[in-house]
Symmetry: C2
Subunit: 338 residues, 2 copies
């Protein structure tokens, strides 16, 4: 039984600095209906990602900017409710970039079937999805740490950070994280076995705290945050350090990003490598990552955490809350229980 209208969340204004509720608008649009070669997908879970912030700006990026007055789009898991498309049938579960709305049409070209028996549907948006892939490829393909090396992960309590840190632990590294609340610090240290975790909000001197936690310097810095934490970490990097630039959440809302900028001279002094990436770079290796991540979840060596908010209407606030460091684990919005 389908709804008669299709609720949507639109980008009403391009945010100036931190996003505000007034940058978004909730509307009820007409219910779409699939033509030949299309299917209708009911959204079950929406992923709420810091990276969406940069898509709210106009300009050249790895993905197009959001259009004003149109629904936001994001990684989603949904269920096919009607199909006039070969290869997809009613009841199939799919992963796709869908609109922030209850129902979306799709020609299937970007849809990937997902199997709820391999992993819970929601994890395809987290530990078995893009954030997990970021940690997986960032650590295993870019940083390639050796056992015994020191790996620092900023934003360690985020979905990417937890994946990166746990994968580095599996490689036999000393893993140090930064996080923004006592609850997160305790979780990373006690549940995920990080060797040290620094609360960047309460540390009197971040550089000193990081130095204490990394007596042998830093061999790999996996950066989700940028800014002050990055400056502190870079001051401690060792010869041949690898800096994986995965995210810069502290900078997405900054009017000037100068505080997060780094001096190329430092890379010369340490013969260091700094590599940015997006998970799309590894599109042809997603199968490998799903297989390994699923296996590690099942054997209990890879934990994950989700923060699920119910209701499409609450998606804008869930997004805004990302930048206040309130979310703990992968931030999802559940539109329907499936």
């Amino acid at each position: 039984m389908q709804a008669k209208t299709n609720r949507q969340v639109l980008l009403a204004k391009r945010p100036q600095g931190t996003p505000q509720p007034s940058d978004f608008e909730v509307v009820d649009a007409e219910m779409p209906s699939p033509d030949e070669g299309e299917m209708l997908i009911q959204t079950l879970y929406l992923s709420v990602d810091p990276g969406m912030r940069s898509m709210m700006e106009e300009g050249k990026s790895h993905t197009a900017a959001f259009e004003l007055g149109k629904p936001l789009t994001g990684r989603s898991v949904g269920r096919v409710v009607a199909s006039k498309l070969n290869g997809f049938a009613e009841g199939d579960y799919v992963y796709e970039r869908l609109g922030w709305q209850h129902y979306s049409l799709s020609d299937g070209s970007q849809a990937q079937k997902v199997d709820p028996d391999v992993a819970p549907l929601s994890t395809y948006l987290g530990i078995v999805g893009v954030p997990g892939f970021c940690g997986y490829f960032g650590i295993l393909d870019i940083a390639r740490p050796q056992a015994g090396e020191t790996v620092v992960v900023s934003g360690a309590a985020g979905a990417v950070g937890m994946a990166a840190g746990q994968i580095a632990k599996r490689q036999g590294c000393r893993v140090v994280g930064t996080a923004g609340s006592p609850e997160k610090v305790d979780y990373l240290r006690d549940e995920l076995s990080f060797d040290a975790v620094i609360n960047y909000k309460t540390a009197q001197n971040l550089a000193a705290a990081l130095s204490d936690a990394c007596p042998d310097g830093i061999d790999v810095y996996f950066d989700n945050v940028g800014g002050e934490i990055t400056q502190a970490a870079l001051s401690l990097i060792n010869y041949h350090a690898r800096i994986v630039v995965c995210g810069q959440t502290s900078q997405y809302n900054a009017a000037s990003t100068a505080s997060g900028n780094i001096a190329p001279q430092l890379l010369i002094k340490r013969s260091a490598m700094m590599k940015g990436f997006v998970v799309y770079d590894y599109a042809d290796r997603n199968g490998e990552a799903i297989e390994h991540l699923g296996q590690w979840i099942k054997d209990g060596t890879l934990h994950y955490r989700e923060n699920i908010v119910d209701g499409l209407e609450n998606a804008p606030q869930a997004f805004i809350d990302l930048f206040a460091g309130k979310s703990f684990g992968k931030q999802l919005v559940r539109l329907s229980s499936g």
Copy 2:
């Protein structure tokens, strides 16, 4: 016939900003004499390198800082004039890091014999030495450009830049350089076959000029300079660009290096890699580089240019002139004709 005194150039003061003549002092010291296990080397050529500027600062680097009141040191070629050391005989030519002085003692542990028949003695300080190695490994090991890719080299008329640009040309790349005088621009374009060369001093709009010269964007940026040129180049990098950070001559004298800083976010947007290095990273592959560079000089596909100043007393000014962009080609000081 040896001199009775040993003229030296000392570091008198740590430069503030651009080095001044008063930062240096010329003195006559006592003539050293070798003990058992030592040899006495007469300096023939001194290399004058921008990288020495950072060694004039105190602080952690890949090499120790210069000491105040002591002779500067630098890459040199000399002749053994007396030896109490197995393996080295009077008349041997050696490459070593020597003091800025006419005569130095050495235990031989860091000395490498060089052969004037394989290449002229002076080239072991340039195209067949560290600057040549920087271009060789920076292009062939770090950037690894494919034929048809666009390679931009800043400071292209310097010893490193000429090597990097010519080696990229050999790989079939479109090579664009920046340089600071009409004479240099003409030389790079007409003699070294660069595809385009920009005079950064006269370009009205550096970013626009670079954009015109790189219609397909920039795949590899080989940076010797930093600062404004780097900002312009980075605005044009393509997906999966490689940025080789070899030098930052525009930044060595800057009180604040903020103008040369780069935003890690850019690396994410382009999935780009930025790697700093020093030639010591490749110490175990010098033999390979010497062999190839020597061969390319002999077959006429690799040209080089030297700017030789006579007299140890003129070394400080030769160093100072580096930062005014006055030198064209590898800057050397000749102390004796050998």
